[in-house]
């Protein structure tokens, strides 16, 4: 049963024991962020947090860590909360095969209940904004779905974009937005600025959980995120037209803010503690003027803490980073078995593959660099054999320990592009990339002394089942 809004998902999290209500009065800072920081240290089954008693506010509601564990990610996809990580990623890949599923227009969105326009717009009155990390330059909205269109091709559904970008609230109706050059909204903004125009945007805060997963997926430029959401939900994503810009926004959002990115303007922004686990900024970024806000009565502010990994964002950009890379590699090289790009949005990518001949695995590794996502990420690619599970880090370490000879298995590609938040880049946006070939050489590559590899005994699988049963019935 797909969720049409955040509130219905929060109810299910609650029923499943995955929503922790903090009912004591807390300070807006540092308590809410510190609790969300702490909950991500509770591991793969950590709950979401719900605050409704925040000092100084009268009706604030904040939901944190909604996607912040494998258990919550499973429930977001309608799977049992115990579903393992790899099984969730495999299921994600299977559902991707149903893409595209066209969204459905639905009337009477709940966010149409209340409106502020023009000079009365005040985001501080609508959302209980809070600050996250000590060095942050201000108040951020960091989990909203931002909708825009290609100014050269308005109305083209494929080129519409729904993405999650960091947004600093700089005033009651003034925001700053970070468009990473590799991301689709940066292409939209570039075209608008070339034309000397502003770029209309709609910012949807507090969404059904699949919208956030789709919006955080590195899709191709001409692929529509709502059509992925439909495939993942197993039902069309409900959307509605935003009243000012006419942009398609999620039907079930808590808050929809509309306005424009002001063309050819930049203003100081940040710093902000980023998904890399490092602060970035201050830089001069584009600014947004908000002209209209529509919102549900007493909206729930869905917010995301990010810090030293893993935190919620790492769960939000794990499966959905692996699957498009896997699909794109598999299309060219059917030998590819699995892709683990769950680390820092795929700055490290681990690929397991069968080999056609000597040199094949490193060629697949080089292909990772030229995928759309690889252009901005994939600073290190680790290639492992088809019998090594890239999600099983002890196995990956075994491959690195025994299958890798630095004299010929480290392939460095100098001066490649990387998103400019990567702290190791020099200068920002440029990095040398590394392919580590930790596969067993195959003919005509006869280097090393591999002989025969020890494999699990044919009877071991049956014995595993037998021992598990014995242990369970003790």
């Amino acid at each position: 049963m797909p969720y049409d809004d955040l509130r219905s998902f929060l109810r299910v999290l609650d029923e499943q024991g995955q929503l922790l209500r903090v009912t004591d009065e807390v300070l807006p800072e540092p308590d809410v962020a510190a609790a969300a920081n702490a909950v991500s240290r509770m591991g793969g089954s950590a709950p979401a947090l719900y605050f409704d008693n925040i000092k100084g506010f009268t009706s604030a509601r904040i939901a944190m860590n909604v996607h912040g564990s494998w258990a919550n990610h499973a429930l977001a996809l309608g799977l049992p909360k115990e579903t393992g990580t790899e099984e969730q990623i495999r299921e994600f890949a299977r559902r991707w095969d149903r893409f595209p599923v066209r969204p459905e227009w639905r009337d009477a969105p709940p966010w149409a209940e209340n409106t502020m326009t023009g000079a009365e717009v005040d985001l501080f009155r609508v959302l209980p904004l809070i600050r996250l990390n000590d060095g942050d330059g201000g108040f951020y909205i960091d989990k909203a779905a931002v909708v825009s269109e290609d100014p050269d091709d308005p109305g083209n559904r494929g080129k519409q974009n729904v993405g999650i970008y960091r947004i600093q609230v700089k005033g009651p109706a003034r925001l700053a937005l970070q468009p990473v050059p590799m991301h689709d909204i940066a292409l939209h903004l570039r075209k608008a600025e070339e034309r000397g125009e502003d770029l209309p945007v709609a910012i949807a805060v507090g969404n059904d959980p699949v919208i956030s997963i789709a919006a955080a997926t590195p899709m191709r430029y001409d692929e529509n995120e709502y059509e992925l959401a439909g495939a993942l939900r197993g039902a069309p994503a409900p959307i509605a037209r935003a009243p000012l810009t006419g942009l398609p926004v999620p039907w079930g959002s808590e808050v929809v803010a509309e306005g424009v990115i002001e063309g050819r303007q930049r203003e100081i922004e940040g710093p902000f503690g980023e998904f890399t686990g490092h602060y970035s900024g201050g830089r001069r970024l584009p600014v947004i003027r908000v002209d209209r806000v529509s919102y549900r009565t007493d909206p729930v502010f869905e917010h995301l803490y990010l810090g030293m990994p893993w935190t919620e964002i790492d769960y939000l950009i794990a499966a959905n980073t692996c699957v498009p890379l896997y699909k794109q590699l598999k299309a060219d090289f059917p030998e590819v078995r699995a892709v683990n790009a769950t680390y820092t949005h795929g700055l490290v990518v681990i690929v397991s593959t069968a080999k056609r001949y000597g040199g094949f695995a490193r060629a697949v590794g080089l292909r990772v660099l030229s995928t759309p996502h690889g252009l901005g990420y994939a600073s290190t690619v680790i290639m492992v054999d088809e019998d090594v599970d890239p999600f099983n880090l002890p196995q990956v370490m075994w491959a690195l320990s025994t299958k890798m000879n630095p004299s010929h298995d480290l392939i460095t590609v100098p001066a490649m592009s990387v998103m400019e938040l990567a702290p190791q880049a020099q200068p920002a946006g440029m990095v040398d990339k590394l392919i580590i070939d930790a596969t067993t050489p195959v003919s005509p590559d006869n280097r090393g002394n591999y002989g025969n590899q020890v494999r699990d005994l044919p009877e071991a699988a049956a014995w595993l089942t037998r021992l598990q049963e014995l242990a369970a019935n003790r």
Partner: protein, 78 residues
């Protein structure tokens, strides 16, 4: 209202928002570096003396901050 910005020491601070429950806290913004904070936050985020050196910002740093993304050439012929 605070008198100086904890981050850049500028002395013009604007009020952005006051707590819905009267007189609990205010949200304020530095007119120069745009640092925004709530007056109820810990001293390490709100007081110049306690604000960590590595998070401070100078007028030069603000003026020289890189532009991201860079503004493209215009297609419009004047």
């Amino acid at each position: 209202m605070p008198e100086i910005c904890p981050r850049c020491a500028h002395d013009t601070i604007d009020l952005l928002f006051a707590s819905p429950v009267a007189e609990v806290w205010e949200v304020v913004r530095c007119a120069r570096c745009q640092y925004c904070w709530r007056t109820s936050e810990p001293a390490r985020r709100t007081e110049r003396d306690a604000y960590p050196e590595s998070f401070r910002m100078t007028a030069e740093a603000i003026a020289n901050a890189p532009e991201v993304p860079s503004i493209p050439p215009s297609r419009v012929t004047p």
